[in-house]
Symmetry: C2
Subunit: 330 residues, 2 copies
DNA sequence: ATAATCTGTGCAAACCTTTGCCAAAGGATG
DNA sequence: CATCCTTTGGCAAAGGTTTGCACAGATTAT
């Protein structure tokens, strides 16, 4: 690792262009203020010297920084990957760097990481499904935050609003003849999990069908696999899973027990993120993670936005993991 | 987004503790220099005032920054996700932030992003399989870099060394009776792809069996699906894919054509990263991405490391996507 | 006793930028 | 010709930290 050459500073440019430091600074930061002629000359010199303004010095004096943070419980979840990718793309267009912090779902780490990021970021996109509301408020005092898939009063947020889509999914299943359906929950304390469970339970009650709630899981693929036995035991013909990861696990678990999807059991997911990898293709609901990533960055970069909670409508994607139950052939 | 309160500075602490600014600074940065008594008092005050040193100011004067960058062509590839997760974990232990930049495999963006990151990072972990060597050298003049899965003379790097493992995989296939095997390549210009192709071709020649090389792909799942037709046409009994993503695609493509794995065709992957999601479980080779992530961060954080290229040995993972060909029943 | 050495602390410069304020020059207006 | 305004550019302070140097007091050696 060779020592990098010292970068050119405003001073170097000023000397070479025979103007004062402030003039050079203004050429870049307040365009109208300097005559076209001077401006041209300065830019020319700056280019020749490969001058780029020192981010640290600028941040120090302006009190802001050209970065944002993304704090997530588990970056290996494809939903987050997709969100990150989109967030990063928008940020790049604004010459804004993106810090990523994976907290392994630990509240301590979340706090620690947010503090660390606070100084170097304009704000952080916080995805913390299980964190307590008070903890979130506390963090929002340290650094501006935008929440993802979580609604807290007075803090801007973007969430997938899949309520309508999940009702539609449930209606579909009922139309196909399913009368006894299970919900396979995600992580116990997760805000989104509560939302989804409630939506499904309410709809089932309205439709007058049986909906059984399986035991809470940690949201891992293995939990889905493990849930297969219980599913068969409960004698349901369809399972709506918290997300695609669990759904994929369940499909695998059922297969291991010699059952097939959708012939023996129909399975639905959430997020539409594993669609291409599993077989049969999952009937699911779009998670809109990319869109949410975009919006969150835009909100963070534009301080004038409101603090409201915006929901991004999910839509149903019908694939081949759902079908008529054996008891109701077409 | 409410305005954040002004953070306490060295000056605030110094006044409250009735010592000079430099004393406070030294309490934190050069421990031995200050008497235990003063040190204790200062720390006490600092804690009470919730003082945290201003990163920008510190970086400005020391000329280093507490961050590193990770530049990858596509963060949605699980190999990278896993590397990122590991890198991030190690970094956190060193209170080091991690910038992530997804370049969509564009050389322009790579360059741009590295320049942007240069000022705010101690160095960057660069994963750029297709970038030209000269371009890489150029970037290494702007900012210290560590390469991943790519070897360039004079630049430190960490790569999965799967040559022995891939030979073992091929030997396995031959032992099982396969005599005509295909290699499904990854992205055309990729350094790792060349390595793997060469390793397999050489070994096949040594063993005296047929090895046919399929057309280059872009490395997407869809390419794997699309390759299925060609595979059947070529009449091979086994396919070694560049990575798990392609392998999974191929399995899916074969299924769509009514063939089963491994009964009709055996398939192997690389990276061991999709193992749990696809069926049948992929016989593959560990990509060691987490290990490489760790090592790369450690190398970047410890300037005393050497510039050598280190290979991390991969190991074979036997699952159920390989087996005896129809023509050679057990 | 004095000189030499250590220890603990403070002063002030430096890092590089942004920006409020001021001055000079030139033009327009009366 | 005096006054005022506009345009352009410079000066210097500020932002929070690190660190070389100096200095005072205490401790040890001579």
């Amino acid at each position: 690792m060779t020592r990098q050459a010292r970068a050119a500073t405003l001073k170097d440019v000023a000397e070479a262009a025979e103007v004062s430091i402030s003039t050079v600074s203004r050429v870049f930061s307040s365009p109208g203020r300097i005559s076209p002629e001077t401006s041209r000359r300065v830019r020319e010199v700056a280019r020749r010297l490969r001058f780029t303004p020192n981010v640290m010095a600028r941040s120090l004096i302006t009190g802001t920084s050209p970065n944002i943070g993304l704090v997530v419980p588990d970056i290996s979840n494809p939903y987050m990957t997709s969100l990150l990718k989109a967030a990063q793309k928008v940020s790049r267009l604004h010459s804004t760097g993106v810090f990523v912090a994976d907290t392994d779902d630990s509240a301590d780490i979340e706090r620690q990481v947010c503090e660390q990021l606070a100084q170097q970021s304009r704000g952080v996109i916080l995805c913390a499904p299980r964190m307590s509301t008070s903890h979130i408020r506390e963090i929002s005092r340290i650094v501006p935050i935008v929440l993802v898939n979580r609604v807290v009063d007075g803090i801007p947020s973007f969430s997938t609003d899949s309520r309508a889509a999940m009702r539609e999914l449930l209606d579909d299943l009922v139309d196909q003849g399913h009368r006894r359906i299970a919900y396979l929950p995600g992580p116990a304390g997760s805000w989104a999990n509560k939302q989804r469970a409630r939506t499904v339970v309410d709809r089932a009650r309205a439709l007058g069908i049986d909906l059984v709630r399986l035991d809470p899981t940690t949201g891992m693929h293995a939990d889905g696999v493990a849930a297969a036995g219980k599913v068969l035991e409960l004698d349901v013909t369809a399972v709506m899973a918290f997300d695609d990861v669990l759904a994929a696990g369940l499909v695998e678990g059922l297969r291991r027990l010699g059952r097939s999807v959708p012939d023996d059991v129909s399975v639905t997911g959430h997020d539409d993120i594993l669609s291409e990898l599993v077989h049969p293709g999952l009937t699911t609901v779009t998670g809109q993670s990319a869109r949410i990533g975009q919006l969150a960055v835009a909100r963070l970069l534009d301080a004038s936005g409101s603090d409201e909670a915006v929901g991004v409508k999910a839509v149903v994607v019908r694939r081949s993991s759902t079908g008529r139950p054996r008891s109701h052939p077409a």
